[in-house]
Amino acid sequence: MGKIKSLDDLKKRKENLHKNVDLRERAEDAESYVQIKVGMATSGIASGAKEIMDFLIETLEKRNIEAVVTQAGDMGYSFAEPTIEVTKPGEEPVVFGYVDKKKADEIIERYIKRGELVDGIIPQNYRTIDDE
């Protein structure tokens, strides 16, 4: 790497480097970003959750959507794997089932970007101890 000669130089370099730490910065303040949890238990992985996670991370970055993608344990919807849970800032989480790449694309374009509902939502019909 050459010498930094100007503020613009530094800015350009920072932009290139920022993706190394932006994951860490977003995690500090995850609630202000779109959060996606991918169910990554054995059944999820067997149905391709890993590929979906990679696809989500790549596509979100390409489309400049700042999001925090994490993996979660089994969500219990083994019949509908891969499942993902999407939480938009300030909104209730929504769980989608049978997510393939096409579906993931649709979720990003329609639900995350435009706020439209998409087929495949698994209604949350249980309560957790946190709700009590």
């Binding site: 010498k3 000669k5 503020l7 480097l17 994951l23």
Partner: protein, 597 residues
Amino acid sequence: MTKYKMHLLVCGGTGCRASASDAITENLKQSLQDNNLQDEVQVIMTGCFGFCEKGPIVKILPDNTFYTEVKPEDTEEIVKEHIVKGRKIDRLLYTDPDKGETIRDSKDMGFYKKQIRIALKNCGFIDPENIDEYIARDGYFALGTVLREMSQEDVINQIKESGLRGRGGGGFPAGIKWDFAYKNKAEQKYVVCNADEGDPGAFMDRSILEGDPHSVLEAMAICGYATGASKGLIYIRAEYPLAIKRLKIAIKQAREYGLLGEKIFDSDFDFDVQLRYGAGAFVCGEETALIHSMEGERGEPTFKPPFPAESGYLGKPTNVNNVETYANVPVIINKGADWFNKIGSEKSTGTKVFALAGKVNNVGLVEVPMGITLREVIFEIGGGIKDGKKFKAVQTGGPSGGCLTEEHLDTPIDFDNLLAVGSMMGSGGMIVMDEDDCMVSVAKFFLEFTVEESCGKCSPCRIGTKRLHELLERITQGKAEMKELQRLKNMCNVIADTALCGLGQTAPSPVVSTMKNFWDEYVAHVEDQRCPAGACKDLKRYEIIPENCVGCTACARKCPVGAITGERKQVHEIDQEKCIKCGACLTACKFDAVIVK
């Protein structure tokens, strides 16, 4: 460049490294490779997280998992369970000591909730050995802005407006100091960073240098530009090898990027930094002594004025600030003086890093806004007193400070308030004491330190502190008389008034403040030959309660000096003349028949 899905941050501060965090890093990398995840998960060794109580720490992002007390053999489980299957490992998660619940998201930890991190913003967040990570966090923008867009006066005014005061002890306004150095004309001036952190228990400067060395280099260059100095010197104790290693790497990288050296940012400003090693003498934290030590002279203070800003290193105008003070500077330039002076209290702006130590649950490094109360720091961030004992006092300001008691718990902490209640900010050590600590012994402990660290140049400090220590020794042995307490008081006043430098002038402070707040304890030692906390060994008295003693002979067999006599199945007795107060009988007795008074 690969885009990592997950980051594993492993603490690489001195504390966690001592508990094998190097091996943890290696094992994590190996386990990731075994599972073919090395391109998806990045392992980064960072600076100190501050939560030293429960080290080594491994933090996993983006899901904010905070694993504590990790061992090298836990790494495979972390990779196989957490990273491959997404299951957090409960036994490694931090457990809230109050509620007994494991905390799954580090944002919910009480330890971090009240903290505002400015000086420590990159500690535990970036890899300190990689300048690119610092640049990704807006590193060197402040230097670029200053060199391209601000005049020297602009910079000094901004620091003045921010209200930043020296974090090393006295709390002198940094902007005014810089202005002095700027106004004294000379061909060569110097910028010095005081990294000679000497207070027992304080380690914030070390952690900043270990976790974010570039922030200090950048600030020194900014100061160099503002005051007109082209050379920077960091005076660091040789006892900090890791900080030295990381500083050396940082200096090398900054030179490669042209951020140190000639014509920085294509301006006319040249600046370079060198290291100077100290042998770890407490007095060398005093700025004139520090400068003499750097010049190769004896590390002894000289009378001020002249101040270093007039005649410092090699007789040239020199600005001396400590590490934490510098670490605030780039943030002030980037975010503005108004942003900074809204944090904290009116006359003490910004934050302060405290090193919490002693009988508190969460020992570690915390950065809190000025004006926070002791209660919040000790009970909310620090998690309260260990083993459910009762809070007794807290010593702030190290050997130059004083102790504060229950009645001061709700006093907002800042430079002026601490002075008003008879202590001082110092460099931010905070030693918490509980009901088992004897305050006379505490004062004696600090005096022992000053006696050892006194440079010997002036007699009030060299001889006076020695006499103070002797008197305290007599008190803890129960040999002192009441009139000696008066002598102790007088001597404290004389030393404070006549010693040459800050070390001597403040050396009596621990005695003065413990006498003020715990006079009863002093009197009990003298009049009753009794230590109320039960800590002074010489005043302890082991006795056997005849009603409880069954004559099992267990204590007599354990006593190393044969001080316990008695027939089998008869009540035993301790010969106080022979007893050496080791306490072996107390642990040996199964019938609660031995008591200590």
